[in-house]
C-alpha cells in the first residue's frame, strides 16, 4: 500500500472502532484524577494484603498473670503470655497497673477452684477456654456457611460493582459530553453511530480489564511477598472465571451506560437515566451477600447475566457447580450481550441527535 499525503482511504469498521477506543483510552490515561485514583486503589490493595499477612503471621497474645498452680491450666495453650506471680496481691497489682489483661489465681471458694481477676472486663477468649461447654454434633453440617464465602462474595461483588460504576459512569458522561458540546454531529458525519458506540465500549472495557488485572497482579505479589502464597491455589480458577465473566458482563453494562447517556443532553440530567443501570450493577452484589448461603438463590444468580460474574466464581470455589455450568452461564451471558448491545445501539442511534428534553425510552426504541 502506498501512502499519499492527500488521499484518504475508507476506514474499515475495525479501524474506526479502534480509533474511537484509542481516544477514550488516551483521554482517560492522561487524566490526573484517573491516575491518582488508580494509584490509591493499588496501594490500598497492596497494603491490605500485606497487612492481612502480617496480622496472621504474628497472632496476638494476651498477657496474663497466674499463680504457679493456676498457670498449669494455660500450659500448651497458644495466645497467652503467662507471668507467674507469687500470690493474689501481686496479681492484682499487675492487673491494676495494666501490665497484664487479666490474672488467674487459686481460690478455694470458687466452684472451679480459680478466679479471673480483670480490671473492667475479663478477656472473652480466656473465659471461653476455661469454661466447659457441651460438645456439639451436627447431623447436616452446612459446609458453605463461613466467613470465607462471605468474604469472597464481598470481594468479587465489590470489585465488580466498583469497576462497573467507576468505568461505566464515564461512558455515560462522555456520551453526554459529546451531545452537550455537539461534537456528535461532526463525529456522525464521519463515522456511523454503531462504530462510535463500539469504540466507546471497547475503550472503556479495556480500561476496566487492565485495572482489574493490575489489581490481581498487585494482590498476587502482595500475597507472595507476605508469605500467603498458598491461598492462591484454591482461588486461581475462580479468579480466571471471574475475569472472563467480568469481561462480558462489563460489555453488557457499558452498552447500557452508553444508551442511558444518549437519552439526555446535559450532564445534570444523566443521573436520572443512569439510575436503573446503577441498580443493575448493585443488586447482584447485595443479593450475593445476603443469599450467599442459599444454594437455590446462588444457582439462579450464577446464571443471571448481571450477577453471574460474582455468583459463579463463588460456586466454583466451593465446588458447587458442575464443569459445564460456567460454560452454560457464559453462553447465556453472550446471548444477553448481543441482545443488549442491539437494543443499546438502537437507543443510542435514535437519541444522539435529539437535543433538549430527555428522550423517552419508548421513543428511543422506536426511533
Amino acid at each position: 500500500m502506498t501512502t499519499s499525503t492527500t488521499a484518504s482511504t475508507a476506514l474499515s469498521p475495525a479501524q474506526g472502532v479502534w480509533l474511537v477506543a484509542e481516544r477514550e483510552l488516551s483521554t482517560r490515561l492522561r487524566s490526573k484524577a484517573y491516575l491518582i485514583s488508580t494509584g490509591i486503589l493499588l496501594v490500598m490493595a497492596l497494603a491490605g494484603v500485606i497487612w492481612a499477612g502480617i496480622a496472621s503471621a504474628t497472632p496476638s497474645t494476651t498477657p496474663v498473670a497466674a499463680t504457679t498452680s493456676a498457670s498449669a491450666l494455660l500450659d500448651g495453650v497458644d495466645g497467652y503470655e503467662v507471668n507467674e506471680v507469687a500470690d493474689r496481691a501481686e496479681a492484682e497489682k499487675l492487673v491494676s497497673d495494666g501490665a497484664v489483661d487479666a490474672a488467674l489465681v487459686d481460690d478455694s471458694s470458687s466452684p472451679t477452684g480459680i478466679v479471673i481477676i480483670a480490671d473492667k472486663e475479663a478477656p472473652q477468649s480466656l473465659l471461653m477456654m476455661l469454661s466447659e461447654s457441651p460438645s456439639v454434633e451436627l447431623l447436616s453440617p452446612d459446609a458453605g456457611t463461613g466467613p470465607l464465602r462471605y468474604l469472597l462474595g464481598i470481594g468479587f461483588g465489590l470489585v465488580f460493582m466498583m469497576a462497573a460504576i467507576t468505568f461505566g459512569t464515564p461512558i455515560a458522561t462522555s456520551v453526554v459530553e459529546e451531545k452537550q458540546t455537539r461534537v456528535i454531529e461532526i463525529l456522525l458525519s464521519a463515522i456511523p453511530a454503531r462504530i462510535l458506540l463500539a469504540g466507546k465500549v471497547l475503550g472503556n472495557t479495556l480500561l476496566a480489564i487492565s485495572q482489574i488485572l493490575l489489581l490481581v497482579v498487585v494482590g498476587t505479589i502482595g500475597l507472595m511477598v507476605s508469605g500467603q502464597g498458598e491461598i492462591l491455589q484454591g482461588i486461581g480458577g475462580p479468579i480466571a472465571w471471574f475475569a472472563v465473566f467480568f469481561f462480558f458482563g462489563f460489555i453488557l453494562l457499558a452498552a447500557m451506560f452508553a444508551a442511558a447517556g444518549s437519552l439526555v443532553s446535559r450532564q445534570e440530567d444523566v443521573g436520572a437515566t443512569m439510575t436503573p443501570v446503577m441498580y443493575l450493577t448493585m443488586i447482584p452484589y447485595f443479593l450475593v451477600i445476603f443469599f450467599g448461603d442459599n444454594p437455590v438463590v446462588m444457582a439462579v444468580l450464577s446464571y443471571v447475566p448481571f450477577s453471574a460474574p460474582v455468583a459463579m466464581p463463588i460456586r466454583l470455589f466451593f465446588d458447587e457447580a458442575a464443569w459445564w455450568e460456567p460454560l452454560a452461564a457464559l453462553a447465556i451471558m453472550l446471548v444477553a450481550c448481543v441482545v443488549v448491545i442491539m437494543i443499546g445501539a438502537k437507543i443510542y442511534e435514535n437519541s444522539l441527535l435529539k437535543m433538549g428534553a430527555r428522550v423517552k425510552f419508548r421513543d428511543a426504541l422506536r426511533g
Partner: protein
C-alpha cells in the same frame, strides 16, 4: 476533485405532524459559494442535516453529480454544525487530527494536514492548547478547521460567520473562497446578509420550509429589481414629475430616484437631464439582498 452538482429534489420532512420542509429543491454548483438564507426556524439546519444524512427525509432525493448519496460519498463532506462543538478538554491539534483520521487519513497525514490548516487559520501558536482555553473566536476557527481538515469535496457550513470579529470574517471568507476556487461546492447559511451578498455566487432563500428563491445572485437581483434608476445632476430635474411613464420615488434639487416603465424611457430622461446640466451619476438601482429577502419571504 470537482464532484459535480449537489442537487436536492422535492425533499420533505415532518417532525411528528408538523411539516418542516416542503418540496425543497435547489442545487449547489461545484466551485460556487452558495448562500443559504432564511429566518430562524425556516428549515436551514434541518435541510443541512438531511444533506449530511444525519436526518432521514420523508421524501425527495439528494444527489451528487447525478448519483444518489451513499455513506461513502458523504464521508467526503465537511460539516460545521450550527451549535459549535468540539471536545473542550482536548488539544486543538489533536482533535482536528483525530477528525481527519476518522475520515480515513493516516496518523502522519492527519497531523500534517491539521497543522497546516490551523496555521492558515491563524491558530499556529495555539496548537497544543486545550480547546476550552481559546477565545470564542479562536474556537470558531478551530471549528472551521475541523470541517475542512479532510479536504471535503462538499462543504456544508451552518452559520460559519456568527461570533467572528471582522478580521476573522475575512480570514474565514478567504479560506472558503480559496476552497471554492479549487472546485469544492460550498453551502453556508448566515444571518449576516451583507457577508452573504458579498461572498456568494448563488443564493437560496428559504422561509417556512419552502424555497422562495434560488439561483445566481446577480440573476436574483435583476429579477427582483423594480425598474428603478438613480440620477445625480447639477441642474434642476423638477420636470421629472411631469414626464410620462415615470414615477418619482425621491426628489431633491438635481438628485432623484425614479421608476421608469421601460429602459427606453430611462434613456430619454438621461438625455433630457444632460441638456439641463452636468450628470454626475446615472445608474439602475439594484435591491440589496435584505430587500430581496424581505420581498420573497412575504
Amino acid at each position: 476533485m470537482p464532484s459535480g452538482t449537489l442537487q436536492l429534489t422535492g425533499v420533505t420532512k415532518h417532525y411528528g405532524a408538523r411539516p418542516v420542509l416542503d418540496d425543497v429543491s435547489f442545487s449547489v454548483e461545484a466551485g460556487h459559494l452558495t448562500g443559504f438564507v432564511g429566518g430562524n426556524g425556516a428549515g436551514k439546519t434541518t435541510t443541512m442535516r438531511i444533506i449530511l444524512g444525519l436526518l432521514a427525509s420523508d421524501g425527495g432525493t439528494v444527489t451528487l453529480g447525478g448519483s444518489a448519496l451513499t455513506a461513502d460519498a458523504r464521508r467526503q463532506f465537511g460539516y460545521m454544525p450550527e451549535e459549535r462543538g468540539l471536545y473542550p478538554k482536548m488539544k486543538v491539534l489533536e482533535q482536528v487530527a483525530y477528525l481527519a483520521r476518522l475520515h480515513g487519513f493516516t496518523k502522519a497525514d492527519a497531523v500534517a494536514k491539521a497543522t497546516a490548516l490551523l496555521t492558515e487559520l491563524g491558530l499556529g501558536e495555539r496548537l497544543n492548547d486545550n480547546l476550552e482555553a481559546l477565545s470564542l473566536g479562536n474556537q470558531q476557527r478551530a471549528q472551521i478547521a475541523a470541517s475542512l481538515v479532510h479536504d471535503p469535496e462538499v462543504l456544508i457550513l451552518d452559520e460559519p460567520f456568527s461570533g467572528l470579529d471582522p478580521l476573522a470574517v475575512e480570514t474565514v471568507a478567504g479560506v472558503l473562497q480559496e476552497r471554492a476556487s479549487r472546485g469544492v461546492s460550498v453551502l453556508f447559511s448566515s444571518h449576516q446578509l451583507d457577508v452573504v451578498e458579498r461572498l456568494c455566487d448563488d443564493l437560496v432563500i428559504i422561509a417556512g420550509g419552502t424555497i422562495r428563491a434560488a439561483g445566481p445572485r446577480d440573476r436574483l437581483r435583476e429579477e427582483h429589481s423594480a425598474p428603478r434608476w438613480e440620477l445625480e445632476s447639477t441642474g434642476d430635474v423638477g420636470w421629472l414629475r411631469e414626464e410620462p411613464g415615470v414615477s418619482v420615488i425621491d426628489f431633491e434639487g438635481g438628485n432623484a430616484v425614479f421608476d421608469a416603465e421601460d429602459p427606453a424611457i430611462a434613456q430619454r430622461v438621461l438625455r433630457r437631464a444632460l441638456e439641463g446640466g452636468e450628470v454626475a451619476r446615472f445608474t439602475p438601482q439594484h435591491p440589496s439582498l435584505s430587500q430581496i429577502f424581505k420581498e420573497v419571504i412575504q
